[in-house]
């Protein structure tokens, strides 16, 4: 049975852009360990030769005509974000000295 440490929780969170507040870390780690411990029961399933099912839809490769159709206007697109000359403002990823 795996134990998820506080460091692991913070590391996984960092990978997806989240931060767990320090005072919550212990509780999160304990809770997540318990949940994963329960879900690890899937390791007992006799599924060695069983294929995976990732999709339930019967449809596949649904195409449409390569024609221009209606889209949102620039005004609509920017109504919830910051517009700088038609560009979205994003937090800096690269830091310069």
């Amino acid at each position: 049975m795996s134990t998820i440490t506080e460091e692991e929780v913070q590391e996984v969170a960092r990978l997806v852009g989240l931060t767990v507040a320090p005072e919550k870390l212990e509780r999160f780690a304990k809770g997540i360990t318990a949940i994963i411990a329960y879900m690890e029961e899937v390791k007992r399933l006799p599924v060695e030769s069983v294929p995976e099912t990732a999709r339930l839809t019967e449809e596949h490769n649904v195409w449409r005509e390569d024609t221009v159709t209606d889209s949102l206007t620039q005004t609509e697109v920017f109504q919830n974000g910051t517009n700088a000359d038609g560009y979205f403002v994003v937090p800096a990823v690269l830091k310069h000295k």
Binding site: V12, I36, E40, V50, T53, V62, N80, V90
Partner: protein, 469 residues
């Protein structure tokens, strides 16, 4: 109350001008004023004057489809153009969508009147509606208890006559669970039966869009309007949409009803079991043939479901970076963070095959087990939830027991089958208990017919809570 009537009855009254849509909308807002403070069924209520304006336009119009002039609401998981949409999370507290979901467009085109957006567990993560960033939804049968989730607000609104119907969303039980806790009907459709375009995604291989209303006949009317292929949802089915409302009167005699024995496991509350057994006897008296069947992998359903759902949600929720819309990720609530972290972990190199990969294989096993049952059964029957509606706060310490509420609903979601939850009785303390009628994929017509037959012979669904007197 006018909103005690079925949609069919209301349609007749509206077309013969015995009542007006304005009166229905007034009644809905009246109920909201009286009870929404106590229940928190809504996150956003439209300005009354706007809804009345729509109602007046409906009353003046000559075109009258079955949903014309009928007040409805939407789980706040459906984007509505120019009307705030939050998915129950403060991350989207500032989000005003520039477009509407397909299901919304279809309902507005049918003439139904939008009242507001219902409270829900944030991102659909929950089975009690206690994970909403906007406060929990209370159960109107006992306001110290939960309304169920994640479409708790939708269930509370319909049962409190704040609208004639709501559109909920079911990924692992989120329509069926609150429907059964609030004594209404709720349909989880076959995966792909109703377009998911504009539905804020929780788990893309599991999410379904479905109606919640007071009766099975209402469900059929709504389903006819919202089902069908949508070019904007590549997973939506191209199969024809039956006229469900004309197929309800199929007689039950000879209907083969399978009851998986794995439902009668340790965690099933005796009172729930007893009510369920009585319901099966009633169906037998109406001509159904019940038979015991087996779904050996059912006990693994919760684990298989959560591994897949959490993995998918960790991917889907990645887009909420606060750049194009909404607040930054520091606004995520605890449950959302927990599921994203667990989902990411289950997909990590080194763990992926053992966790997510095995869950996908377990899903195949469940699909095969369900498929085998359709040789000898027309429908399957089971309780919706193992327990009675819990008290607010009861499950907050132990997340795993909260997840076990999905033990009976999640396996059906994993295989993609439709399932109709309807009222089946009340506990000694007066709490609603429901059951689910599960069908073959795309066979909503049969499960609706079984549910309709049951509702003609019983009146659980007509009962109103003391709060409404």
């Amino acid at each position: 109350m006018l909103l005690d009537n079925t949609i069919t009855e209301l349609g007749t009254l509206l077309r013969s001008k015995k009542i007006s849509s304005r009166e229905l909308v007034e009644e809905a807002y009246d109920s909201i004023e009286k009870h929404n403070g106590a229940l928190s069924a809504f996150i956003t209520v439209r300005e009354k004057k706007d809804a009345l304006c729509d109602a007046d336009a409906s009353d003046a119009s000559s075109s009258r489809g079955p949903l014309a002039g009928i007040p409805f609401c939407l789980k706040d998981a459906y984007v509505t153009k120019d009307l705030k949409t939050t998915a129950g999370s403060k991350v989207l507290d500032t989000f005003v969508p520039p477009y509407s979901a397909t299901v919304v467009q279809k309902l507005l085109a049918s003439g139904a009147i939008l009242i507001g957006k219902n409270n829900m567990d944030a991102w659909g993560h929950g089975a009690t509606n206690e994970n909403s960033d906007y406060g929990p939804v209370k159960n109107l049968w006992d306001t110290t208890r939960v309304a169920g989730g994640s479409s708790g607000g939708s269930a509370a609104a319909v049962s409190a006559r704040m609208a004639a119907f709501s559109i909920g969303e079911d990924t692992g039980g989120s329509i069926r669970n609150p429907a059964s806790m609030c004594n209404i009907a709720g349909l989880k459709v076959t995966y792909g039966r109703v377009s998911r375009y504009g539905a804020i995604a929780y788990a893309s291989s599991l999410d379904t869009v479905g109606p919640m209303a007071k009766s099975v006949s209402d469900i059929a009317e709504i389903l006819e309007v919202i089902a069908g292929v949508d070019p904007k949802d590549a997973t939506s089915s191209r199969r024809e949409v039956p006229h469900y409302s004309t197929l309800l009167e199929k007689p039950l005699s000879g209907m083969r009803v399978g009851i998986p024995k794995e439902f009668f496991a340790e965690g099933l509350t005796p009172e729930v079991r007893d009510i369920f057994v009585k319901a099966t006897r009633m169906l037998e008296s109406l001509g159904a043939q019940t038979l015991e069947v087996s779904l050996p992998s059912l006990p693994f359903g919760v684990s298989i479901y959560y591994l897949i759902a959490m993995s998918e949600t960790s991917s889907n929720l990645n887009r909420y970076d606060g750049v194009r819309f909404g607040n930054n990720p520091s606004f995520f609530g605890e449950e959302g963070m927990r599921r994203i972290i667990i989902g990411t972990y289950a997909l990590k190199a080194g763990y992926h095959d053992d966790l997510y990969g095995r869950a996908l294989k377990g899903r195949t096993m469940l699909i095969r087990e369900f498929d085998a049952l359709w040789e000898t059964c027309d429908v399957l029957l089971g309780p919706t939830i193992p327990t009675l509606p819990n008290k607010l706060g009861d499950l907050s310490e132990n997340t795993m027991s909260a997840y076990l509420a999905d033990a009976f609903t999640a396996p059906v979601s994993l295989v993609g089958s439709p399932s109709l939850a309807i009222p089946a009785g009340f506990s000694k303390s007066g709490l609603p208990v429901g059951m689910q009628i599960i069908g073959r994929k795309f066979d909503e017509a049969t499960i609706l017919a079984v549910g309709h037959a049951y509702q003609k012979a019983t009146d659980w669904h007509k009962k109103k809570p003391a709060l409404l007197s």
